[in-house]
Symmetry: C2
Subunit: 352 residues, 2 copies
C-alpha cells in the first residue's frame, strides 16, 4: 500500500482512512506513512514500533512539532469513506486522519519551512493510556520530541483549542450490611447510603477559572454505579465511579485534595489520573500560529495528548479539522472546508 | 438409602440433612422419604415428581396439613452435620430439615391423630417460584391439598408466625443522554437523576398495620443499582431494582398502585410479585394449635409458601425449629431444644 502525497488533501484523507488502523492494528498504515516520508529527501525519518517521526534539520531558531495519532476506534460499517457534497464520511475522518493528512501534505510540500518541523505519527491513542505511542516516545525517545511548541491535530473544528483539562477518576465504596429485605433494619442498605454521594454530585457547581486567558469549565460526574447482590438481599456495598475534569490551574494533588474534601467521610480510591496542560499561548511561535490560522482560541475541556508535551515542558495546542462531537460516532464525518482551512492556516504559518 | 423413623428426632434430622438435596437434586431424599412413609399402613402415599404427599383418612371433622420442603440452598462445606453440645450444625438444619424430621416423626407415631393429617414434602422451594413443588401441587393436584388449616415447617424459633407479607420487585429505569464527561451539559447524567429515586427510598416510612391481631412491618429497599457504560461517557441509563414487602391487608394491585404513586413520573416495571397471606388465626384448629404449642404468635414478615395455601383458601402459619436468620448461612445451625419443643408442641396438639 503506497500513499501519494502529491494528491489533493481530501483524497489523501480518504486514502489513509481507507487503510483500517484500529488501535493495535496500525502497522499497515504506519508502513505506508514511513514509506511515503522516506521518499522525501528533506526529512530524516525515525521509527519506534508503529510510531513514525520525521524532521527537518535546517538550523532554524525554533522547532515546531506537528503530531497526530494514526489509530482509530473500531470500524462501525463506516469504511470505505464516502464523499457526499462537501463532507467526507467514515471512520477516522474526524478523529483524526484528516489532521494526519494535513500534516503529511505539509511534510511533502514545506521543504524549507520557517521553523524546523518535527512530524509525529503515533499509535495506540484510543486505548489504555499505558499503551499510548506518544507516551512511549516521551519515555524512550524524548530527544525525538525536542521542540518549542507543538500542535496536536485533534479535531477542533479547525479552531485553536488551548491546553487541556486534567482528568481524575475515583471510586467511592459505600458500605452496607447484608440482611433479608423483609427485615432490613437488621442490616444497612448500601444503595440508600449512596444517596449521600449522589446528593453531592447533584449539588455540584463547576469552577470556571480563566487560565492564561482561556476560560475552562470543570465537571464532576458519576460514570458508573453498581450495588446489590441479589433480589432478596439488602445490599452490603455500592460502588460509584466518578470522573472529575479540572482546569489546568490545578494539578493532580490539588484535584485529589478537593475531591477528598468534597466527599469527606467516604471511602475514596483514585483509580486514574492524568494532569491537564496550560494553554501556553504566550509563546511567540504560538502567537504567530494563532494569528496565522485566525479565529479566537478556546479552552480545551477534554483531556488530550497535549498534556504529554506539557510534561516535557513544551506548550501545545489542539488544532485540527472536524467536529470533536462527531469523533467515535457511527456517522463520523468531516467538512471538506475544515480540511482545506487547516492546511491553508498551517501553510500560512509555516511556509517561508 | 433408608430412613429409620423410629430413631430420635435429632438423629432423624441429621440423617435427612446428610442426604444432600440441593434444589433440583431432591430425588434421593424424596425416594427415602417415600419409602419410609409407604411402610406406614395408616397412611396413603402419593407422589408427583419429587413431592411426596401422605395422608390419613379417618373421617375426622377437620383436616390439618403439615408441609415442608425437602430442598436446600447449595452446600457450603457444611455437611455432614455435626452435633456439638445442644446444637446440630450443617446445611438444612434450619431451612428446613429439622421441620421435616418433626413431621416425619409425627407421621410415624400419630396413627390415630385428632384431625386427619396430610403430610406434604416438596421440592424446589429455594429456587425460582415457577419451579416450586408446592406450587406445582396447587396447580396439578389441588385435591391432594384439601384441608382446613396448614402448618408450614419453616424456621420460626419454634414459635407461631402467622401469615406472610406480600413481596413485589419493580425496576425503575432512569434515562439520561450520553455525552463526553468533559462536556456533561451536552447530555444528562442518568446516575445523578437516579438520586431522586434514592431520595424517596431514604425518606420512606414503613406502614405497620395490625392484621387479624398481628402487627406487620412493611419495607421498601433498593436491592440492585446499575448505571454507566464506560469511564469516559456520561451514563445514559441507570436501573434500580426495588423490593417492596407489604402487609397482608393489601393485595398485589394495591401494592403496585402504592409504588406507582410513590415513584410518580418514573418509568416503572413490575418484575416479580407474590401476594401475602393473612394470619388466619381465627380458625378453631388454629386457636387450638396456638394454645397447644404455646407462646405469643408473631407476624411473619418474609414471604413464605403459606401464601400458596392462602391461594387455596386454607389459612396457614409458619412454625418450625431454628432461627430464620441463620437460614442459608454457612454456619446454619439449630438448637436441639427447638426440635424437641416443636415435636412436643405438635404432638400435644394432634395426638388423640
Amino acid at each position: 500500500m503506497t500513499l501519494d502525497l502529491t494528491s489533493d488533501v481530501v483524497a489523501l484523507t480518504r486514502a489513509i482512512c481507507d487503510i483500517p488502523s484500529v488501535s493495535g492494528a496500525e502497522k499497515e498504515l504506519a508502513d505506508a506513512v514511513e514509506l511515503a516520508l522516506r521518499a522525501l529527501p528533506h526529512l530524516e525519518v525515525l521509527r519506534d514500533g508503529d510510531a513514525i517521526v520525521a524532521r527537518t534539520s535546517l538550523g532554524r531558531p525554533a522547532r515546531v512539532i506537528l503530531a497526530g495519532h494514526l489509530d482509530t476506534v473500531p470500524i462501525a460499517g463506516n469504511l470505505p469513506t464516502t464523499l457526499t457534497g462537501d463532507v467526507v464520511e467514515g471512520r477516522g475522518t474526524v478523529d483524526m486522519k484528516a489532521g494526519d493528512a494535513v500534516f503529511l501534505k505539509l511534510a511533502a510540500t514545506l521543504t524549507e519551512p520557517r521553523y524546523d518541523i518535527t512530524y509525529v505519527f503515533y499509535d495506540h491513542e484510543e486505548v489504555a493510556a499505558r499503551l499510548n505511542g506518544l507516551g512511549r516516545l516521551v519515555r524512550e525517545h524524548p530527544d525525538w520530541l525536542a521542540g518549542d511548541f507543538a500542535v496536536l491535530g485533534e479535531p477542533s473544528n479547525a479552531t485553536v483549542e488551548g491546553g487541556c483539562q486534567g482528568t481524575m477518576r475515583i471510586t467511592i465504596t459505600v458500605p452496607g450490611v447484608a440482611a433479608h429485605p423483609a427485615r432490613p433494619w437488621m442490616g444497612s442498605n448500601a444503595i440508600h447510603s449512596a444517596g449521600a454521594v449522589l446528593d453531592v454530585l447533584r449539588a455540584y457547581e463547576p469552577r470556571t477559572p480563566v487560565v492564561d486567558g482561556l476560560q475552562y469549565r470543570e465537571a464532576l460526574n458519576a460514570v458508573k454505579i453498581e450495588g446489590g447482590i441479589a433480589g432478596n438481599v439488602i445490599p452490603d456495598s455500592c460502588v460509584i465511579s466518578i470522573n472529575h475534569r479540572y482546569a489546568p490551574d490545578r494539578g493532580p494533588a490539588e484535584a485529589e485534595a478537593y475531591l477528598r474534601e468534597l466527599f469527606k467521610g467516604q471511602e475514596i480510591e483514585v483509580v486514574d489520573s492524568a494532569p491537564g496542560a496550560r494553554p501556553g499561548l504566550d509563546h511567540p511561535a504560538a502567537r504567530e500560529f494563532v494569528a496565522a490560522v485566525g479565529g479566537t482560541p478556546a479552552a480545551k475541556l477534554g483531556w488530550t495528548d497535549v498534556s504529554r508535551f506539557a510534561s516535557l515542558g513544551i506548550p501545545a495546542v489542539n488544532y485540527g479539522p472536524g467536529d470533536p462531537l462527531l469523533a467515535h460516532k457511527d456517522d463520523e464525518r468531516c467538512p471538506v472546508a475544515d480540511i482545506h482551512n487547516a492546511l491553508a492556516g498551517l501553510t500560512a504559518w509555516l511556509a517561508n
